[in-house]
């Protein structure tokens, strides 16, 4: 009985992806990318790929979010388009 969790998490992934490209605030986008990665991590874990989930959690949700925030800190917080 894992398919409902699967679908719920997948819905969140799509919401996070759409929100990340439509939000004007780049800091918000960075955080949304973190949430997206975390949802993907849950999805991998549900599918049984624990190693991939671990990588996604540490690299995707952890370090790359910090890199995005660092880049936003040094550039601008608003998008041009």
């Amino acid at each position: 009985m894992h398919w409902p969790i699967d679908l719920i998490v997948l819905t969140f992934v799509i919401f996070c992806a759409i929100a990340a490209i439509s939000v004007k605030d780049l800091l918000g986008t960075a955080i949304l990318f973190g949430a997206y990665s975390f949802m993907m991590c849950l999805l991998w874990a549900v599918m049984g790929a624990v190693d991939v989930a671990f990588t996604e959690a540490s690299v995707g949700a952890g370090v790359s979010t910090v890199f995005f925030v660092a880049a936003v800190f040094r550039t601008s917080r608003r998008t041009k388009d």
Binding site: D51, T55, S58, V63, V69
Partner: protein, 273 residues
Amino acid sequence: MRVLAFIIVCLTGALLLYGTGEFPDWGDPQSPASVHLSNVYIEKALEQTQVPNLVTAVLADYRGFDTMFETAVVFCAGLACFLLLRDFREKKERYYRHTPTGVILHVKDSKKIIKVGKEFAHMDKNWVPSDLIIKSVCRILIPFIQIYALYVVAHGDFSPGGGFQGGVIFGSSLILLAISYDLKTLVRRIKEKVLGIWAAVGVLIYVGIAAICMPMGGNFLDYSVLAPLVWDPHHVRALGMLGVEIGVGIAVTAVMAIIYINIVSEGRHEEGL
């Protein structure tokens, strides 16, 4: 232009979705990967490598070349960040805080350098140091994160994890130090040169272990010929994997710190997030 871009994105997305329809079902026993490859790994991996975690066995042994060049790619990412962003010019203006009174000094003369110690502390222009609670919590948390990272590297043969994940966790503990205190604290503790050397040493450990196999009479990355060198010849392939995982961990740790420091300080290594 925007409409054109939107149409292209939609077309590409539709094409990808169309392609996905041809994929085998999730867990389909008749898919090509399950018919030929997976069976061999599942049946033979434990017997051949003595590593219970099949993912590690595939990544570090059967497909060791792949992982070796992935490590090289990570090293190149750090190198690219360094070459693009590093800025060796000295900053002209400096800010200092007189610790007992809290008065902030703005020194515009680059030759006038105030000695930092008990009385004066460095201060970033647009970064207010975090408060005592954050500092204390992170100070307690960081050693545990680092021990966990070492555990992930060392236990990669038996449980999920390995060099990449452990290295990233160790690197994020260093980043946490820079965020909770300031960038200078991190740069003072781990010199830039040390980070650069570590990144190269990590890759060299991997390539070295792989290359030692050749004079011992085997192929590149064939750990089984290393049996006379290790204390436990029965587990020689597991130990070879542990060795390369340690190399990967060292390289990834150093590269994460290099990327963070260079991005956040615009290559100046002085002040940052």
